[in-house]
Symmetry: C2
Subunit: 206 residues, 2 copies
């Protein structure tokens, strides 16, 4: 890309393109779009991120992002506290909540074990998970991590830490996505889905 005519513009474009998936050209388009707004609107745009960083909190129970000491899910008396679902981050909580199928509570690890990115077990909220399990309140821990190499590594690490507690350990079912045609499912998924086949009536009420 041609050098920009202004250092200030260049700084703004560099900041914008530091976001994942935003290239220099897109960043320039976004910055020029911003520049058309009035000063108050730009202060509001910029202020939102500064305020977020300054005031956001992590739930003191499950580590989900929230505005209070304890998140709305953990403070909800109607949730089933014997079911504890371990997820990577806040987006996974939202995705599971979106299904409307889960009434337990969560534990947000804040990442996933990834030697490539330098994330080890000590960088994650694993100690506090063990403390929660030690209270005896959770009867089942559902490991709802991504079906990737890193997810499986983390699952295995958690399994070794949790296997001596008197609780049920489970993972999300792996299988053919609803709406997918069989011939396009990969062989590992299809293999697991036939090994872990479920009773016919389990799929009726979806």
């Amino acid at each position: 890309m041609q050098p920009l005519p202004s250092k200030l513009l260049e700084d703004a474009v560099n900041e914008m393109s530091s976001l994942p998936g935003i290239g220099k050209k897109t960043a320039l388009r976004l910055v020029l779009h911003l520049l058309k707004r009035d000063t108050a609107a730009i202060d509001q745009f910029s202020g939102a991120f500064v305020k977020l960083k300054r005031d956001i909190r992590n739930c003191n129970i499950c580590h989900n992002l929230c505005d209070e000491e304890t998140c709305t899910i953990c403070s909800d008396r109607n949730r089933d506290r014997s079911l504890l679902c371990v997820v990577e981050d806040v987006r996974d909580v939202m995705a599971l909540e979106n299904t409307g199928q889960y009434r337990g509570i969560y534990h947000v690890l804040g990442g996933i074990i990834s030697p490539l990115e330098g994330t080890g077990p000590s960088d994650l909220n694993i100690e506090s998970l063990l403390l929660r399990v030690q209270t005896g309140e959770p009867k089942e821990v559902i490991m709802a991590l991504s079906a990737t190499m890193e997810g499986d590594t983390t699952n295995f690490y958690l399994f070794r830490k949790l296997k001596d507690f008197n609780i049920k350990l489970s993972t999300l079912a792996r299988g053919v996505s609803v709406g997918d045609e069989l011939e396009y499912a990969d062989e590992v998924t299809l293999g697991r889905s036939i090994l872990n086949r479920t009773p016919f009536e389990n799929n009726l009420n979806r």
Copy 2:
């Protein structure tokens, strides 16, 4: 999308998704990515846009964005001041500079006549263009606007304003893009490209 667990997060996501082409899901991904940075990095991110809005200037000759009173192109003594190229915005200046084929100077309209978006001639830098032409310095005005309905409307408006001055008026050549196959060119472009055919030797030195 599921309601977010935090009002602060929601505000930040709303601001991010107010940018063109950024949906709520992408915005959430970008905001969570930002949130992983330290406070100083976020201040720098946010500050870049505030500083840009506060300190950016428009060149007092061509209205291009710049940090000084006059942009680097207008203050360059080696540019041909008899050639004046009219463009919509700073990105078009960059695109033309990128070609390395143009040694004249520019005039940035700051937009294009678009009744649908409520942009009329008085919203554009047209008065100052007429003043520049009146000085007699430009001998040719090149109207380098997009080949769209709005571009053509603006071209026509400028043509009517400029036709009584003793200057040459031209537009960018419309024709088959370099690298395009003929059968995929649309008929209007192909029709214009045969009407405005150029001498063979003009295409040799590209």
